[in-house]
Symmetry: D2
Subunit: 337 residues, 4 copies
Amino acid sequence: MNKIRIGLVGLGRIGLQHAMNIAGRIQNAELTALCDLDRVKLEATADKLGAPHRFTAYEEIIACKDIDAVVIVSPSGLHARQIAGALNAGKHVFSEKPLGVTAAECKEAEKAAEANPDLTFMLGFMRRFDDSYKYAHDKVSAGEIGKPVLFRSYSQDPEKFIQGAIAYAPHSGGEFLDMAVHDIDLARWFTGSEPETVYAIGGCYAHPEFAQYQDGDNVSCLMKFKNGCMVFLFAGRTAPHGYNVETEIIGTKGILRIASVPQKNLVEVIDGYGVRRECSGNFLERFGMAYVNEVQEFVDCIIAGRKPLVTVYDGTRVSEIAYTCKEAFERGTLATF
Amino acid sequence: MNKIRIGLVGLGRIGLQHAMNIAGRIQNAELTALCDLDRVKLEATADKLGAPHRFTAYEEIIACKDIDAVVIVSPSGLHARQIAGALNAGKHVFSEKPLGVTAAECKEAEKAAEANPDLTFMLGFMRRFDDSYKYAHDKVSAGEIGKPVLFRSYSQDPEKFIQGAIAYAPHSGGEFLDMAVHDIDLARWFTGSEPETVYAIGGCYAHPEFAQYQDGDNVSCLMKFKNGCMVFLFAGRTAPHGYNVETEIIGTKGILRIASVPQKNLVEVIDGYGVRRECSGNFLERFGMAYVNEVQEFVDCIIAGRKPLVTVYDGTRVSEIAYTCKEAFERGTLATF
Amino acid sequence: MNKIRIGLVGLGRIGLQHAMNIAGRIQNAELTALCDLDRVKLEATADKLGAPHRFTAYEEIIACKDIDAVVIVSPSGLHARQIAGALNAGKHVFSEKPLGVTAAECKEAEKAAEANPDLTFMLGFMRRFDDSYKYAHDKVSAGEIGKPVLFRSYSQDPEKFIQGAIAYAPHSGGEFLDMAVHDIDLARWFTGSEPETVYAIGGCYAHPEFAQYQDGDNVSCLMKFKNGCMVFLFAGRTAPHGYNVETEIIGTKGILRIASVPQKNLVEVIDGYGVRRECSGNFLERFGMAYVNEVQEFVDCIIAGRKPLVTVYDGTRVSEIAYTCKEAFERGTLATF
Amino acid sequence: MNKIRIGLVGLGRIGLQHAMNIAGRIQNAELTALCDLDRVKLEATADKLGAPHRFTAYEEIIACKDIDAVVIVSPSGLHARQIAGALNAGKHVFSEKPLGVTAAECKEAEKAAEANPDLTFMLGFMRRFDDSYKYAHDKVSAGEIGKPVLFRSYSQDPEKFIQGAIAYAPHSGGEFLDMAVHDIDLARWFTGSEPETVYAIGGCYAHPEFAQYQDGDNVSCLMKFKNGCMVFLFAGRTAPHGYNVETEIIGTKGILRIASVPQKNLVEVIDGYGVRRECSGNFLERFGMAYVNEVQEFVDCIIAGRKPLVTVYDGTRVSEIAYTCKEAFERGTLATF
């Protein structure tokens, strides 16, 4: 069986991780090309990972005859255009979230996906590929917890990264678009339903800098979904303990909690501070294997000719919902979908 | 030092527990009189607990010269009138929640308390007297978690008691008045603030019987408090695992969780179902010592001449808030306080 | 029903706790007399707790006609003689452990108990009256974990009390007699069997002061019980986290752990140190209710005329076993029982 | 950089896992050859994983010019001879434990390693490469828990695999050699010391079949190490809950526990059985990534020219210790090392 030859675009933090995974951790794939504006980083990374082709222009990598698929890890504002470009150039595409930063961009990506039905397109909602989330979803799907009553999900970034968050604030789109999208995706995936109404609140509890962008350092929203399920989401940037992504699904017959203790590993420390679990430090530490699993799934889908779990429409829908939450937050009123 | 002589009204489940506590678990108190309509139960209980005076009419017990204080554990609709009656008869009063079932009733109780400033009045929000809640409140008061960002509190009754809940539904006032009042009291106590807006949702996920009373079997609400704190409350009647009261306070510098595992005791069972903690079965099992502590505090306040932590106004305010939540839930709109 | 009138001997730390419990927390009991050498403390405590009779001589309290029972909380070396004295004076007796500090003393107490079969005698192995230990024992008795394979029990005192432990070292009898007796009692109670062989090791890991008394600051032993059960006990004086008493019983069909997280209460703290439970600080904090329950059981046994769970022979047997462990430890050889 | 070309010997369960890892999960390595007696399985696996060379005779694979290194996952009785053969043929060697099944075999492997100092030899004590064990070891090495006082380690296999264990009993060497070797390795690694004495007990609690091989279904031992550390090991074949490997290191300043809850993943289930974590089902589920990490370390050592953490002498020493434990168990006496 031939390996899927992958070209990767964007050597930021996640891009670099994806590149390393493709080079050494993904079965039936090889890292064939890299693309980044920074030529020094490009060459050094390509040398280290053994990638033969190197490009500084996106047009070149998608024109490269030696690659079958493109993995897009560029800035969010470029996603939609690059997705369309690669699909129309005949490449399978895996893109990090979000699909696009405007409704129009999302539609552009949708159109390209529809025009190329034989190509595999997949969006990187990596949490769905985390072993624990998958295990929980299987249980929900099997009816083990009955009918979903309340879906609660938190995304908390560590306070220690706050300077980065403040610097990125003008471009982040706000906490709902930047952070809660993953929880929105999970809510739709676990409930199999869509939101109907939302009330969103929050504010700047520690860092007033976010207010100028109509954003907060901690926000939350309560949504009623069409199937009746209550959905409560919380996103915060001031977690004292580390990187905390946790989810609870209360059903009529059982309850599941995923990572309610955001433990770093299986070590328990007992000392003057009590009996304690240290926490995950960042998203790569928590979701490192999910990043491997999602690209493995992308490669497996290409090989098997099956459609990925996450579609282009999921990308559009999650962005729309996050945008409505953001508006509800800014206006302080109830919003409907 | 003379013991405080207590007359207790109402020998239902909680009343009986209070009577046993006063007879044998409260320091500097004695159970001097009992009052209940059921003469057989009255005599049997009084004999067993050694209470010399027995009454079937409320007017008689508050007229009894041998008692200093009255503990009211009668049906909710009688609370306000009995509180006023006892205070005006010169007795100290401890009453189970709620203060009253209408705003007018609450005002009646307030007036009686104001007219008798030298008498001790205390309302039974027992959670404040649970060791774990007290410990957490001390930490919050000491500033250990910084500024409160999110207050989340759950009250879940076991599914196995659902027939009783359905039978009581016409009189319960709905989940916000019947269950969430404790969480509302905690939210005010922990944040030191008052609600500004509320959005409330929920429904009948397993038991359609509640719908006819404009109630649900599971409900939730998201409130914005005046100090900016987000407050999310959830009340449910279908808990598969037992009696679950848990609270989380996320602050800018730390997070506290009280009873996030609603464990029955310190035993961990490891078997084919995994590593597990069995859960509290009911509120008396969970809050048994809090029921002792609160009446002890009442007695200590009488002796020391100090004012209890919970005032008559707390009772009014919590009822008002719960009523507004109920209205918001019924209308499906945002409500303001 | 008449209350049991109790005279208490010894107002040290545990004695004071027992006195307060009898005065206000034990049903059907009253604190009628106190006895202590320190007259100032005696009078102050008796005034505060409302005890009418006060004695400085043991002979006087056991001669007092107004008491039915004696609770002995004096220094260990006085236990056996006082037990015999009180029984022979016609009083029911509850004594703190140990029964005696020599085999001869234990036999003296046994003889007095045998000579007074109508009087209730009970030894204070309070762990058996802790709700969690009782719950676990019920499960084991019901066969829920099958046949016991390994019984493991730890008793760890906090490092912060080390100066007291060093000061008391010449009189403590060593860690097996001073600390492990509770674990030995539990091992016999849970397995329903007796030890056959023991290997005991340990040393002074942080505090060389104990070596001069042939003792260690941390010791352990592995015993084979007659029914085949393996028993591993560990006793330490240098716990960094607080007071830690935990037990595990591995059976062929299930495993139980009691207090494997020695949590202070139900509060979980999440901050820069991780997700953590603070620990019990001392034995009164951990076993406060067990001290109430055991004396309640003593009183209930007197009233009902039934025999307590813990007999005088349990006291003798546990002391003998601890002494053999101590010898094995000192000699470094395998010992048989 | 050229990839390390690996030939793997033995396509049993672990062998197959190693083969898949080398083919797709190990950086800078490629699966070049496979060797197994079963030609059908050999060809199918080689086809699936893309391994060009296939052998049914060990002599052939070590003679193959296209491989740099051999990974040995054959039956235990072949290890020593195959290690020596491969080293003497100029190949780097990674072998699963044990090094050999007799002292003579271990010496044979030692001699071959000494004769080929430029070749990398590594033994597969995979627990050292588990993230949690590594994290804990780093803390111990950094002095965070002070001086080790007690090292406790459990290896428990699920009861559901008991038929396999019984079938393998004649060849397993007994629980100390078959299971406790990993704990012995950890004890030496964490304490940096060697055993001095051991007392070992146990028996057949559920399955008398093991008795005929002088083995038990559950055994334990207490060892005194030369640095004074107490070491308690427990190995069992009847775990009701799954595959449980847990370790505790009590130090004078802190305590670490690794996997004291042998959780399958981060999902917590709350239902009629309480609040529970499901358990790891088998060693591949628990140590899947450790199997990847250890071979990655082997490859990295070859490339970097550094010596692996685990030496041939560790293999010999662990086998010797396990054998002495086994003798102590069989004789029921104290043994010295």
